[in-house]
Symmetry: C2
């Protein structure tokens, strides 16, 4: 076995090393207060003068001498000789010590009558009431908010000393092209350092992105030397795995000291920390989701330990809609989709791996699974940290059932209308169960025949058949896919690849075989199962098998030939009450829209005559309008 990996540190250990191995840089800058929102006060700020500087009126009214008003009442009104008309904010002439509101005075010729005594200092803002000269306005470490800036300007402060830090960011990799350049095959746009720049700038860092450095140790060494000289913190992107061209570790060792390489965290395992000329050099993994984790869980806490403001966190408690497994010993950070069904928040893990930046784009939160945990059952309550506003929860819908490209197109259309559909593909049965247990908003189902097979009936419990509505998405053409255009008769001699029991394609196959009088044992490969039609198509395309059942859309997407054998209804099943839900109403509108029709036609293999029809399930299990 070719050995490659490293002793992994625990996340806690790594964070302690990160925080404790360096002296805190004291880099500050003086900026105009109007640019200071979110920045951290570096030096205490004091009021330039008292506010107000002299006593002023707090009301529109008349300034009076309080001793002249003693004894005034409804039965004994007093007409004041000495007074001055004042508006709010006017200086109180020195002879007066109280203000009576204009509502409480009665005009009496050129003078005013009052009916209540005025207490000394009433409705007067004494000098220094808001703040006194040289008193503290903002302490060191305060994170400046928009409304603080109003106070600063009021107190005579127009520039402010805030924390800053110079961060040099080095992209490495011979496969990289700069942002805006279209990558050739095998090339990748250099985006992780852009993400790092944006992320750390939000915290108040001054980021400098260096030009892309090829995978040459000498070039990397030169770039690192320059970055360390000019900055307080250096991030170096990629080159931290154990591939044949990963030089970051050796370069760090040649210039300084390696603090750690490899942390038991997922994604982000290859994260690296070096100390060069006393300064931290943090190695980001190349995978975007791993780089994100290292930015959020390593770079941000380092800046926080240097006094920078913690990134805002929006924790919510959600119930897992689906089990998650986790590598014990690894701290894992898992993107989640958080949505609400009824009054319960659910969190749904994203299916794809660490490659898909779209997982981050589409998710609205993530959860941290601590190292000792091996996973969570569905239904477990977890803390989820939202990455969007809380409103995104109401814009997230969970679909559980059978997926098809027609649903993907619908989800894209919904996405553009502000709805996030997170669909999982465990099949029809799980879809019915999820609907019954109210753990999904809708179940996309491929229904093989009318009436429904009785097998589905017990799955719907505790729902009754008349608690459910079915929205027709499209009619799907199902058939035999192959490289060479095989038909039913060929199934007895070709290498067949099957789908799992009770999947719609398996049911179509079985009724087809029955109709043709072929026994399953005659089909070579009948017991060899893959998950569903997309896997069937890939297996055929790659020569693993010769034929299998899938939809015409999937077959043509994989460049396979296709012999149609049946039509099936692709339906979105919902609880009846959801028909009045504004989001489901919007979805029905989208399903019925010409735009969706066009998308289905472009994808191919769908009949759309019944698209958008909403039907109920009659007691004999047929769908009726």
């Amino acid at each position: 076995m070719v050995k490659r990996y490293l002793d992994l540190r625990s996340l806690d250990e790594a964070l302690t090393l990160l925080r404790d191995s360096f002296t805190i840089p004291r880099y500050t800058e003086k900026i105009p207060v109007v640019q200071a929102v979110g920045r951290v006060v570096a030096e205490p700020v004091f009021a330039t003068y008292s506010v107000p500087e002299v006593s002023i009126s707090a009301m529109d009214g008349i300034a009076v001498r309080s001793r002249d008003t003693i004894g005034a009442s409804d039965r004994n009104p007093i007409t004041l000789e000495h007074h001055a008309r004042v508006n709010t904010g006017n200086v109180i002439p020195p002879e007066f010590d109280a203000v009576i509101m204009i509502e409480d005075v009665w005009e009496a010729g050129s003078s005013f009558q009052i009916r209540r005594a005025a207490a000394p200092w009433q409705h007067i803002r004494p000098a220094g009431e808001d703040i006194k000269e040289n008193k503290l306005v903002l302490p060191r470490g305060h994170v400046i908010r928009p409304f603080d800036i109003g106070a600063l300007v009021t107190y005579g402060i127009t520039t402010i000393e805030v924390l800053s830090v110079r961060v040099g960011i080095i992209p490495t990799g011979s496969e990289l092209v700069p942002p805006g350049v279209r990558p050739k095959p095998g090339q990748v746009v250099e985006s992780n350092t852009v993400m790092a720049q944006v992320f750390l700038s939000q915290m108040g860092a001054h980021c400098t992105r260096l030009p892309i450095v090829q995978d040459e140790p000498d070039l990397i060494r030169e770039a690192m030397r320059k970055a360390v000289r000019e900055n307080d913190l250096v991030l170096i992107s990629a080159g931290s795995s154990a591939g044949t061209r990963d030089f970051t570790e050796s370069v760090i060792r040649s210039l300084g000291e390696l603090v750690f390489h490899g942390v038991a965290v997922k994604p982000g395992k290859p994260v690296m920390l070096g100390k060069v000329e006393g300064k931290p050099v943090l190695g980001l993994p190349g995978y975007p989701l791993a780089a994100q984790t290292v930015l959020r869980e390593f770079a941000a806490p380092l800046l926080e330990s240097w006094g920078f403001a913690p990134a805002p966190r929006y924790p919510v408690t959600a119930r897992l809609a689906q089990a998650i497994t986790s590598d014990p010993g690894f701290d894992e950070f898992v993107p989640l989709f958080v949505g609400r069904i009824g009054t319960t928040l659910y969190g749904m893990p994203h299916g794809k791996g660490g490659f898909a930046q779209m997982a981050t784009v589409k998710s609205n939160g993530y959860t941290h699974i601590p190292a000792p945990v091996e996973g969570y059952e569905a239904g477990t309550e977890l803390e989820v940290l939202l990455t969007t506003d809380i409103g995104s929860i109401e814009r997230t819908l969970f679909f559980t059932g059978t997926l098809d490209p027609a649903l993907e197109e619908l989800a894209n259309l919904a996405h553009d209308n502000g709805l996030f559909i997170h669909a999982t593909n465990p099949g029809n049965i799980a879809g019915f169960l999820a609907l019954g247990s109210n753990t999904c908003h809708a179940a996309p189902l491929v229904l093989p025949a009318q009436p429904l097979p009785g097998i589905y009936l017990p799955l719907m419990r505790p729902l009754d058949t008349d608690d459910m509505a079915f929205i027709h998405i499209a009619t799907i053409e199902m058939g035999i896919a192959s490289r060479d255009g095989l038909g039913v008769a060929d199934l007895t001699h070709a290498r067949f690849i099957n789908t799992r029991r009770e999947t719609p394609s398996r049911m179509v196959l079985d009724s087809l075989l029955t109709a043709e009088g072929i026994d399953p044992s005659q089909v070579n490969g009948y017991p060899q199962e893959v998950h569903g039609p997309p896997a069937v198509a890939v297996a055929i395309k790659n020569g693993f098998a010769d034929a299998g059942m899938c939809t015409s859309g999937i077959a043509s997407a994989n460049g396979l030939r296709f012999v149609p054998v049946a039509h099936e209804d692709y339906e979105l099943a919902v609880r009846m009450e959801m028909l009045t839900d504004s989001r489901i109403k919007m979805l029905i509108g989208l399903i019925r829209s010409p735009a969706y029709q066009t998308l289905l036609e472009k994808t191919g293999g769908y009949a759309t005559e019944k698209t958008g029809r909403v039907r109920c399930l009659s007691p004999d299990l047929s769908l009726t309008g």
Copy 2:
């Protein structure tokens, strides 16, 4: 009575008018993605190309043909003829359809041996796995996060169309001076429009602040005309009350239509809305806290209804530490200090009125009291919206007891060290009670004599005397304040002003009178009570009374003469367990610091020999080290 006010709209009514009276401006701008954090996507964004564009390796290892690997096992290793060494991200040559991880291969000469079959497509990222060309990346309305920008750049997108809105902000008022100019008496720095600019820019608005306009209807009209022509929304600051120089309403009427003037909201009652050339003109009240409320509760919801991202909200549930009253019929927004005592969050209202911008600066949250509510009892659980990070809760301490300038200096010093002390002044008795019920972190107490009067004993329950520790802040000089230097003998003929029963100054007075053989009935004004020493000093200064008891510090701050009669201990009482709390430990350090000593000396009237001493209460109620 001089009539002045207006029919008030309810907040709900006003917000409906605000949202429904105008067509939504569709103003957008195209900006580099690196500047797009927090902005709202105006047009859907699609991937420029598929990512990856071709199939690439997901691992470091060897690319193989999966069909060559069928049957490999520990007992039947296979040596592969055809393979290619690939690193993560390398293009998979067309003849291969799987990757085997480097850990799972054994070198065998120039070839590799494997012991397990490779499934087709294993460890390969197929073309378009992350996203396919022309697929939606971000929908309209999405609020852009830092990590979205990594994805955008990866997918070939470097500029993006985002929502914007042009906001013209007009400051009016002849008393105003621009930011950075020191105001003369009666002048005010024009800061509300700066605050508006900063606040709305955060939401993505392009704000233009116009020059200050004098209180002249023609000038205001000209400025408003120009601002409406050049912007989608106009804010006009001040001139919206009913003073003699408030012209905003009449100017709006002359150019267009007044939608409302006056809303039952506190602060912010004079808020005004006009419609000029179809565009909204929002009138901000002049008081900073009222202007803030109108920005947050009117301007922000208007922009949200136009598609802008809602401002982040951090709601927490806190128990009111002190009752709040509220005007029924008014929606009130009350700044609160949120702190934690034990495991309970408490919210403490700020004492000062709407003038003090420092109330906003120092508070870390606010609560909304709906119109029908007349107030809340202490102990009520409320939703509080934090205005700072959640960590500020741990930096907030509540002190309940008797205030003195010595504590104010200590709080300022603590503030500069990141601790926010919110102190209320209900007196010694309430301080003991709060300590007993664990609703304050510490009780500042002016203790008139040693041993303590037995009256305090029952107040400490359920605490025992030995559960309490006393940290000595300073010894305070107490005496008779007057304009003319009156002494004890003068109290029988001067007009005296007293403090409330059981206040330390009242206790000193009573023991003084006893010692001098004077009966309280001989003291003219003995029954006339004000709240405490500061009010005594103001009453004397303004001629309401001739003499009263206060501290030498307060007397000299008010320019009064002072005859000392007693010394009292100013102590910070805490539960014994709090002595190990890091915040209380820091406070003790500050109390003992030379900086605090210097501040006390500068303030005057304190003896500091015992400052910083921590003592316990012995069973005979004397304080012992």
